[in-house]
């Protein structure tokens, strides 16, 4: 990861661009209930926290990119009427990846942790509005996400594919069992929150298990957990809750199904393309 050329190839730039476009569209067109001021505050706070933690943990350099992705995801997902809770969410999100670590690996996807922690700790003063996405935004974003997957060839996209397969199986399987028309599971999938989750949270290479078998098992558990929350407990935010709680199992999965920890300096793809910057940069993502 050195030089302008490789940073140009950094998939996170693509992701930042994608999330920014979505945020602007959401603010301007979708009544996503996030004001530009709130978005600026969240982004400012994640960058500030990232900077403070960089200094505190004496990292060699301040890298705003991962923090920006977390911040943009927070803007798109997190809702609260309290400015202080928004600030706290931004701080908790970024700080979590520095503080909550097991054997040098952070446990939770930062955005996931920030939102779930604040939701549970404040008794619902912070919430996620999963239904606020029009189909234009959904399909546009879906194409961008899939495109990103192809373009970036992110090394650990296996977890995204596996999760998609399992979660689709849960939704469509349930509909088949209940004798519901397939329009119902299709409708259930049309949520921007689901896309952010699938392409930005569960795919986070620093928090998924090290081995491929472990990652697939993890994807299965998260899909089942989300189905359990939605269809057995009848509670919202199944995906976020499932990922947050099951992330606690990742150290155990790594123990049972050990794999090579992702090596930052080595490209993931066999060809000599300096692609895997996603993982590299996400060391503290």
């Amino acid at each position: 990861m050195n030089g302008a050329r490789s940073s140009f190839r950094d998939p996170r730039l693509y992701q930042i661009l994608m999330l920014s476009c979505l945020l602007v569209y959401g603010v301007v067109r979708l009544d996503l209930e996030v004001r530009p001021g709130r978005a600026a505050l969240l982004l400012g706070m994640v960058l500030l926290t990232q900077y403070a933690c960089t200094r505190l943990w004496r990292l060699p350099a301040f890298d705003p990119r991962s923090a920006l992705i977390s911040g943009l995801s927070l803007c798109l997902l997190l809702r609260t009427n309290s400015v202080w809770l928004a600030v706290l969410a931004a701080v908790v999100t970024i700080a979590s990846k520095f503080v909550l670590r097991v054997r040098g690996k952070h446990i939770f996807n930062p955005t996931n942790f920030g939102i779930v922690f604040l939701m549970l700790a404040t008794g619902g003063q912070v919430w996620v509005s999963p239904g606020q996405w029009g189909s234009t935004a959904f399909f546009g974003f879906l194409i961008a996400c899939l495109g990103g997957l192809v373009v970036n060839r992110a090394a650990r996209s296996d977890v995204t594919y596996a999760f998609l397969a399992f979660y689709l199986a849960v939704l469509f399987g349930r509909a088949l069992w209940l004798g519901q028309p397939m329009t119902i599971p299709l409708h259930q999938l049309q949520s921007g929150a689901f896309l952010i989750f699938t392409f930005f949270m569960i795919s986070d290479p620093k928090t998924t298990p090290d081995s491929r078998a472990g990652r697939i098992l993890f994807a299965l558990l998260v899909a089942l957990g989300a189905g359990f929350v939605h269809f057995v407990l009848y509670r919202p935010n199944g995906l976020l809750l499932s990922l947050a709680f099951l992330s606690l199992l990742v150290p155990l999965i790594d123990l049972l199904l050990p794999g090579r920890r992702y090596a930052w300096s080595r490209p993931a793809a066999p060809e000599p393309v300096p692609v895997p910057s996603l993982l590299e940069e996400r060391r503290f993502a």
């Binding site: 809702r79 009427n81 619902g124 509005s129 239904g131 606020q132 209940l178 004798g179 519901q180 009848y234």
Partner: protein, 445 residues
């Protein structure tokens, strides 16, 4: 015997009386606005839920029946019949409103305003019977009650086909395709609440309409089953959901919740026809959202309103609607009529199975920001003073009225030139004269 199976929730909006603000009579909204409309009040705190359901059934009472999936078997005391007036009041309180301002003498100052509720919604419900045959069909009559003018059954079943057969044999006309939907609710462990009118009780009670049915239960499911009601629907249906909660605004988690356009300045003639305006605007907004959104029409703390289309509901009225956390008050104690700690969200949707394939699922948010559908009439100042400010005012007035015409056209989809015609904006039919380029006036004869 032919009975209708009006499953799920059907609502209708009928004409309402007009409540004026500050003693001014502004407009009236008569005639029913929306057909096939139902109203549901959802009181919810934690898992405790009280539903009040009303619909606009207009036929023979003996032909009326409803079948509603409910999450649990209900005891007799969990079912109640409400007064229709409660819903009318809630409707009037939360309806989109027209506000009037009178332009002050530009050379002086003064201001009035008043509010008028939009036309309103009204509703009712219905009925069922039972037999031993039930058992052989795998249908269990879990409970059977007569509450007010209704005969009520709580059914569970092993198979949707058995349930369907039982319903048909007992005189319910089941629409084609209902079996699959019934089956999917059965597999989710839902029971069926079947109600029909007990004509004897009905005539004893002497009501000329069907009163809303209320049920109270405890369940994590914060949803409204709309699928059964769409099976035999002739076209799109209208649903008003009034959510009464403690923490804040309620929204749907599986459909977009969109705020109705509000605070728009519209032409004065709307005052005489506010009902048509509301209806046309709603239709236009539904179209703009491709019929895939739920509209938020009102979100307010029940303790107050500004402007008030109707007074907030009293603690007593709220308790009757099932707001169980509100204390009963001694009327002699006086004090504020509005209850505290109750937040109202009024949601309005037009739905059919193509655009709303799934039941409505809700969540309560901590958002307590107020929102209301509010439309503004600004009466021009009619004085003939000729101070500089008055000349400026008259110049601006034409532009403003044309803006109002365009706003109205955009909100309702009405033809802007027809609107201008109704506003008597003769000059504006070809565009406001003030917008002419400056040089056109130089050498004009």
């Amino acid at each position: 015997m032919r009975r209708f199976l009006l499953a799920g929730l059907a609502l209708l909006v009928a004409a309402g009386t007009v409540h004026a603000f500050c003693g001014f009579y502004v407009a009236k909204a008569d005639t029913k606005l929306f057909n096939q409309a139902s109203q549901v009040v959802m009181v919810r705190d934690g898992d405790r839920t009280v539903l009040t359901m009303a619909n606009d059934f207009k036929g023979e009472l003996k032909e009326f029946a409803i079948v509603i999936p409910v999450p649990t078997v209900l005891q007799r005391e969990q079912i109640h019949v409400a007064e229709k007036a409660l819903l009318d009041h809630l409707d009037a309180y939360s309806a989109p409103r027209l506000v009037e301002y009178f332009d002050p003498d530009p050379c002086q100052e003064a201001l009035y305003r008043q509010a008028v509720p939009a036309p309103r919604a009204a509703a009712e419900s219905a009925v069922g019977g039972a037999a031993d045959r039930a058992k052989s069909l795998g249908v269990t009559i879990e409970a059977q009650y007569t509450v007010g003018e209704y005969d009520i059954l709580i059914l569970s079943a092993k198979q949707s086909t058995g349930l369907e057969t039982w319903l048909v044999e007992n005189g319910y006309r089941i629409p084609k395709g209902a079996s699959g939907v019934l089956g999917s609710y059965l597999k989710q462990g839902m029971k069926f609440f079947v109600a029909r009118v007990n004509l004897k009780e009905q005539s004893k009670l002497g009501f000329s309409y069907l009163r809303p049915i209320q049920v109270a239960y405890e369940s994590p499911k914060f949803m409204l089953p709309i699928r059964l009601g769409m099976v035999n629907a002739a076209g799109p249906q209208e649903l008003f959901v009034y959510a009464l909660t403690r923490k804040g605004r309620v929204e749907t988690t599986n459909y977009r919740t969109v705020r109705l356009p509000s605070d728009a300045e519209i032409p004065l003639f709307v005052k005489d026809d506010f009902g048509s305006f509301y209806k046309a605007m709603f239709t236009q907004q539904v179209k703009k959202q491709d019929m895939r959104a739920v509209f938020l029409e009102y979100a307010w703390d029940m303790a107050w309103c500004d402007p008030c289309a109707a007074d907030p509901l009293s603690a007593d009225e709220l308790r009757k609607l099932g707001v169980f956390w509100v204390e009963r008050r001694d009327p002699r104690q006086g004090g504020m009529p509005g209850a505290q700690d109750v937040f109202l969200s009024r949601l309005h949707l037009r739905y059919d199975s193509a655009h709303f394939p799934e039941d409505l699922v809700f969540q309560e948010t901590a958002d307590r920001q107020n929102f209301q559908g509010r439309y503004i009439l600004r009466h021009p100042w009619k004085g003939n003073a000729s101070c500089t400010a008055a000349r400026e005012y008259r110049k601006e007035l034409g532009r403003r009225q044309d803006r109002e015409a365009q706003t109205l056209a955009s909100l309702t989809g009405w033809d802007v030139n027809k609107i201008r015609g109704r506003m008597n904006l003769k000059a504006s039919a070809e565009g406001p004269a003030e917008d002419e380029p400056w040089w056109k006036a130089i050498w004009k004869d």
